[in-house]
Subunit: 469 residues, 2 copies
């Protein structure tokens, strides 16, 4: 049975693209963070949508489950198979053509397996911006970005991956190709299937192509690093800057002093913008379609008012792109510094902006009560209400020992998020990792609707089983 199936797959994609040896399959079976290694019947590497469709029909006929995989950079075990060895991994890596760029319509049509960085560069070559940007951009694929509705650092201005996509091509669980590759800003003809597949983590079908929105490249993008007393002041600064700059405010990242000290410890060559320590820092970014002078004026005007209103204790303004990059490096090195310091317990949460300050206070207090001296590594995209709220052991306590508290600590954090009507997964998705949490925090009504849709579109249950639901 499985020999026949594999033979059929080889006939579709060619024998070189059906991997079965342990060595060949290994890179596809362990997740990005190295948390889990699954097993697979085979790894299939089609080159286009037609081959994907034929493989899905083969899987459907043989009742074999499929795990779609892009760059395998996911953080919630959504793209790796389970331990059963009964599923196949379908890698979209060879679907890597940029199909078309329409500079007048400001759209780009791409295969799902295109690397995000390649897409950014192809846009830039046409004097356009594709704004999606995140740490894994050098290896993640746009199909994975869309399947997880990726966020990143440009959401404040440009939205999540969902908002950056106008149309999709999807292979359905029946092995049909849905051509929804529309490049339209307005289209009210029936149900919004596009947004249903976006964020579905491959459980409803396989995204094989997409039409992406492009934007004019800003003339100038500059940053400032602001030292301030509290998250509450950071939120006031956010509102002030949005009032003054509108859509020209393109980034607003919060970092606690603990984060900055971690970076300084593990990456001593990076700049240290302030002599004194401050409780919190905000990295803010302004982009101007007009000129560098205009960007400087926006930053300076906003910071002057912030100092007048006593919202900012100190500030460093980058007046060149090089200086701006250097400030961004401080933010980008936080996850690396954390990794260097040892493992910790990660949370990817979002909250209404108005609840963030209270959340940080009350959750910190609850954690201190349960785990005295634990360290909170709190940073993230404050402009989107999205915090990476990670918990590390007290100084000196072995990390492995502390990790045994993962379930209890995540429960405290997620219950606290839930009480604030926040989300336990802001940008990483659910995958296999947060499936039980989903069942805990979602209402029965919502779960029932999700299950009904899953059953309607994938009645055999072959698409990425065990993920999300």
């Amino acid at each position: 049975m499985s020999a026949d199936f594999l033979q059929r797959c080889r006939a579709i994609v060619g024998p070189d693209y059906v991997l079965t040896s342990q060595q060949d399959c290994a890179p596809y079976l362990t997740d990005w963070r190295g948390r889990f290694t699954g097993r697979a019947l085979a790894v299939l590497r089609p080159k286009d949508s037609a081959q994907v469709a034929a493989l899905v029909r083969a899987c459907s006929d043989a009742r074999i489950a499929l795990v779609p995989q892009g760059g395998n950079t996911g953080l919630v075990l959504g793209g790796v198979p389970d331990a059963s060895g009964q599923a196949v991994v379908l890698s979209t890596a060879r679907l890597n053509r940029i199909r078309a760029i329409d500079a007048v319509n400001r759209t780009m049509t791409v295969d799902a397996g295109c690397i995000l960085l390649d897409i950014q560069q192809a846009a830039a070559a046409q004097d356009c911006l594709f704004p999606l940007s995140l740490a894994a951009e050098g290896s993640c694929t746009i199909g994975g970005n869309l399947s997880t509705n990726a966020g990143g650092t440009a959401v404040l201005r440009y939205g999540n991956a969902r908002e950056l996509c106008l149309g999709l091509e999807v292979v359905t669980p029946h092995g049909d190709i849905w051509n929804g590759l529309r490049g339209l800003r307005k289209d009210n003809t029936g149900y919004d299937l596009r947004d249903l597949f976006i964020g579905a983590e491959g459980t409803l079908g396989i995204i094989t192509g997409a039409v992406l929105k492009l934007f004019p490249l800003p003339e100038s993008t500059l940053t400032a690093l602001v030292a301030l007393a509290s998250p509450r002041d950071a939120l006031s600064l956010l509102n002030l800057m949005q009032d003054r700059c509108g859509a020209s405010l393109t980034g607003f990242e919060l970092m606690s002093d603990y984060c900055m000290r971690l970076v300084a410890t593990h990456f001593p060559h990076l700049p240290k913008p302030f002599v004194q320590r401050h409780a919190h820092y905000v990295l803010l970014e302004v982009s101007s379609s007009e000129s560098e002078q205009h960007a400087v004026a926006l930053l300076e005007g906003g910071l002057e008012q912030a100092v007048e209103l006593d919202l900012a204790d100190d500030a460093v303004l980058a007046t060149s792109s090089a200086q701006s990059r250097a400030l961004w490096q401080l933010r980008e090195h936080i996850p690396l510094a954390q990794a260097a310091a040892g493992k910790n317990i990660k949370h990817d949460i979002s909250l209404p902006a108005s609840s963030i300050a209270d959340f940080i206070d009350s959750t910190g207090a609850k954690l201190q009560q349960a785990f005295p001296q634990c360290q909170v590594v709190c940073f993230g995209h404050l402009g989107d209400g999205n915090l990476h709220y990670n918990v590390a052991p007290p100084d000196g306590e072995p990390h492995e020992q502390f990790l045994a508290n993962q379930a209890a600590i995540s429960r405290i954090v997620h219950d606290s998020v839930d009480a604030c009507q926040g989300s336990i997964s802001a940008e990483h998705g659910i995958g296999a990792l947060k499936r039980d949490d989903l069942a805990r925090y979602k209402s029965k009504v919502e779960l029932d609707m999700m299950r009904a849709i899953k059953g309607a579109l994938d009645p055999l249950g072959i698409m990425n089983p065990g993920k999300v639901l």
Copy 2:
């Protein structure tokens, strides 16, 4: 049977809110444009979500179909019942509370029956902008706006109704209340049910509440009217202004000379900005978060470059809000002037920007060939690729006689839209009016997925039957 059902409804909402007399029901049975009058078993007027849920359960138990209705301003017969008299109309008009405004999170939580204008004004009272704006704003409801994913004049900068909504409360076809009232910019916890209900025209459930996005009020909004030779030049001007202004370009409307002459004929008191006639006009709007001076500089700089590049023949710049309003009036009076001139054949289409000029040329030629001397009334939201492409009789031909060609003319226009990979309903939806067109222009794969979802969420088929699918 029906007497028992009505008795149960009266027990839920009170006898005053179950309308059955012909006179009481009449306002709910004829659509906005007066195209069609249906019949209903009753009109139900609940006051809150709990009553809506109880009514839906009563309908479900009795297998009685429901037609949800907001302000009854829809243009595609989506909110009125059919002629059978077997369905009830469920009016959301009494669900009209603004539940909460969170100025820090920039969100507003509202009942679905709130009038759009009331929402705009409540936002403005908090120094915030709710940008959705359209002709019917004085009587349409936000529930209807969301159910049809309304567009309007601010889509270029702020997006459609879909992009302006963070969370929903929905009564499902089973009579359950789904509380999805989240005020989060990022939330990747499962399938995107919100966007499935948005634009579903009440066929999957009844939207009873929503969390809306608010924005900072711009400091200054100014317009200019530009005379130019062709839609091609208008598109070049669009790209130029977007490059120069970024998100500060908040409106970009195209009008043909024929539209302007219609307005001048029927509304002679309105300003006539140009002495000479020109083939086309663009109304462009710029909003600045900084100052009026900045808005003027953006407009002047863009227009100077447009003249240098020979894209604009002439231009009038409004340097005050009052002048800007006067220019907008020209645009807003086009539909009124058309109505005064007599009935015509309307189309609400969208196209990739790069196809618009060719579409206008080739569709005009096809229409002239089939219906010599017919008049094309072409105007709309060019910045979104959305045209209202209406066809009127040759001068002197009776309108009623010409309307007999509706099917043939719409076929020419829609086939032409389809060939350009456009949409036959950009912002009005499908309703009952375009249901056959949907079946003609959508692929079987897409229709099958829509039907599967409809069947999964509304297995009894009681939600707004005969609409969309």
